[in-house]
Amino acid sequence: MLKTFSKGGVHPAANKLSADKAIEILPLPKTVTIPISQHIGAPAKLLVKKGDKVKVGQKIAESGGFVSANIHSSVSGTVSKIDKIFDASGYKKPCVIINVEGDEWEENIDKSKDLKKDISLSAEEILKKVSEAGIVGLGGATFPSHVKLSIPKGKKAEVLILNGVECEPYLTADHRLMLEKTDEILVGIKILMKALNVDKAFIGIENNKPDAINRFNKFVENYDGIQVVPLKMKYPQGGEKQLIKAVAKREVPSGALPIDVGAVVHNVGTAFAVYEAIQKNKPLFERVVTVTGKSVKNPLNLLVRVGTPTINLIEAAGGIPENTGKIVSGGPMMGKALVNTDVPITKGSSGVLLFEEKESKRQDVQNCIRCGKCVSVCPMGLEPYLLMNMVESKMWEELEKNNVLDCIECGSCMFTCPSQRPLLDYIRLGKSTVTKIKRSRKK
């Protein structure tokens, strides 16, 4: 019996169209647009100005607080402008626009492909270097990794869990990375284990990726304390709390953090980024992105520099099909629709997903028939129908009592609703309003 999380969950059609496509390197674009806020937390502070020459891997913006991350240039060239540009959030954010000239890397970056297994740095040095390299959670949440690695006083990490689940339909970026960079990921895991001072690490992989499970099972023999945990396919297994439940059988209580149950979760992509940062001195400025969609001619996985316009990726996959109705950054369940094709790729973009026109429109909303499906699929044990009703009647205090803030916005309720009710839209509004109320109460 394979492990999985116990409560709720749905099974959207997997559609992993690009699963057998090896990672290709996307040619450099003419210009890149690098937002200075690519992570959760405070935006970074700019270090460059118009006209400055930058190299690949040069720091161009500095972390603006504890929960923030450095931003590095992904190309070499001249800063042509600092302007507000639409990013994947749907709003205009300050961005550094760099004209690409050649491909000159910072001298200390090791460009070789050799595997470096020995970890010479101490835990503190690793933490410092991870923070310096601007690494954030690459699963999509973009939470700064060094924050997750610094364990608060009085708490102890007991187990490290690696997220190789990739439960979002369509996306295959992590899957390909696991197949092609197995050793590097495992060294990255060892580094993370050292930084956290834990001796156990689990890699959770869903059973729709048997090749990745087999490969890791073969490779982990050379690394102590790492174990592969095959998981039964179910969305949203990649959610932090769901993964901890599935792998370690621990439930993170409402309002608590994974570290409260002794667990730390990192994405496999993050582990790879950590490997490159520690062993190769390479800051985070490129990532693997899946370009896919039912109408896309040639779905593929690309290694892309941060700041590349989305259109370049789509061109590489065969161009925009005529009947495209929606372009989504990320997976179909939690991704964000893009306002135009010039939106730059950021550290958190795991995929570019093109929907045909007929797939991109929502169905008509009907009356709630009280079937209770939303209640039974909610992985957090909430009652989405009730929360929606409460938001509609503006019952903010009741919403707080019904744990609206526990919602992880996985979209299972809306996916499963037979009446196509916009449950998550309302719950999101409830969450943001309740957060505002809570904040004003503190003051």
Binding site: K84, F86, S89, G90, Y91, K92, A337, V339, N340, S360, K361, R362, P422, D425, Y426, R428, L429, S432
Partner: protein, 300 residues
């Protein structure tokens, strides 16, 4: 005999129940100032919350309990109602200028090109939570009608030809529900003005001139022409956006004439006599010039 027993039983039950009711009523009696009822009677009873209290009764209580009621005002009833309330309570009120809601966005379909189509839940708050809207202007009206839903007085409607809300000033009581509802803070309560005439900047775009122009042809570009021409110092420019202080404005309309984009609106003035409009080409050139000037200024 049976009848007698029945009658006696029923009567005694009735008496006991009456006594209990009486005692309970005595015990839980709450003293309320009878004037509260009187004042509530005088208030319009719209329960709109425009005064800041939950319903007219809340307002009535506050009016009765407060020593100085000059800070309290019923926007629905206006000065007449307040005078009546003052008479009941024997307190003083100061007359206030009537206000009206004003929509500060004039980017209609023609002037503000749509860049995408929104297909989520049709409320402005949710659209604003998701992204900057279906035009390139991230400050302007989303046109999904949260203000219409908030209005209890049928005073605001979305004009289908422009996609913008229009206030019916006869119905508007300035309760502020739409101001509260708008996630973009586009609607403002302004002085209704003498003969209902008023002048205001119908834009809230804080972007630099060039960017604002790109998004909407009738955006305020913050050129400052209006501020220069205003003889009363009523216009201030902040964050590339002009704002007319309605307390200082004397409705001379000089600013309306000089605004290169037509972002300043005048309402309820009699039609002007044959003022030749500048040619369109000239107008756009003028705008470009202004933008260049302002951006140069900014860089210096």
């Amino acid at each position: 005999m049976t009848i007698l027993v029945t009658i006696i039983t029923l009567v005694s039950i009735g008496v006991i129940a009456a006594v209990i009711l009486f005692l309970v009523a005595q015990k839980f009696k709450v003293f309320e100032n009878p004037k509260i009822d009187e004042v509530e009677e005088a208030l319009p009873g719209a329960n709109c919350g425009g005064c800041g209290f939950p319903g007219c009764r809340g307002m009535a209580e506050a009016l009765v309990n407060a020593d100085d009621i000059s800070t309290l005002f019923c926007t629905v009833g206006g000065n007449e109602t307040m005078a009546e309330v003052a008479k009941i309570l024997g307190k003083e009120v100061t007359a206030k200028d009537p206000m009206v809601a004003v929509v500060r966005c004039n980017g209609n379909f023609e002037k503000r090109k749509r860049t995408n189509q929104y297909d989520g839940s049709a409320t402005c708050v949710m659209a604003a939570n998701l992204y900057s809207g279906d035009t390139a202007c991230e400050y302007g009206c989303l046109g999904l009608g949260d203000c219409v839903k908030a209005c209890n007085f049928d005073a605001i409607k979305i004009d289908k030809t422009t996609g913008l809300p229009v206030v019916n000033q006869d119905n508007c009581v300035a309760c502020g529900a739409c101001v509260e509802a708008c996630p973009r803070n586009i609607i403002e309560l302004r002085k209704k003005g003498p003969k209902d005439r008023r002048v205001f900047v119908s834009c809230v775009n804080k972007d630099k001139g060039a960017l604002a122009m790109k998004a909407c042809k009738s955006a305020c570009i913050g050129c400052g022409k209006c501020a220069k021409v205003c003889p009363f110092g009523a216009i201030t420019i902040e964050n590339n956006l002009a704002y007319i202080d309605f307390e200082k404005c004397k409705l001379c309309r000089k600013c309306v004439a000089v605004c290169p984009t037509g972002a300043i609106h005048e309402v309820n003035f009699p039609a002007k006599k044959a003022v030749a409009k500048p040619e369109k080409k000239k107008q756009t050139e003028e705008i470009k010039e202004e933008i260049n000037k302002t951006s140069e200024n900014k860089l210096n």
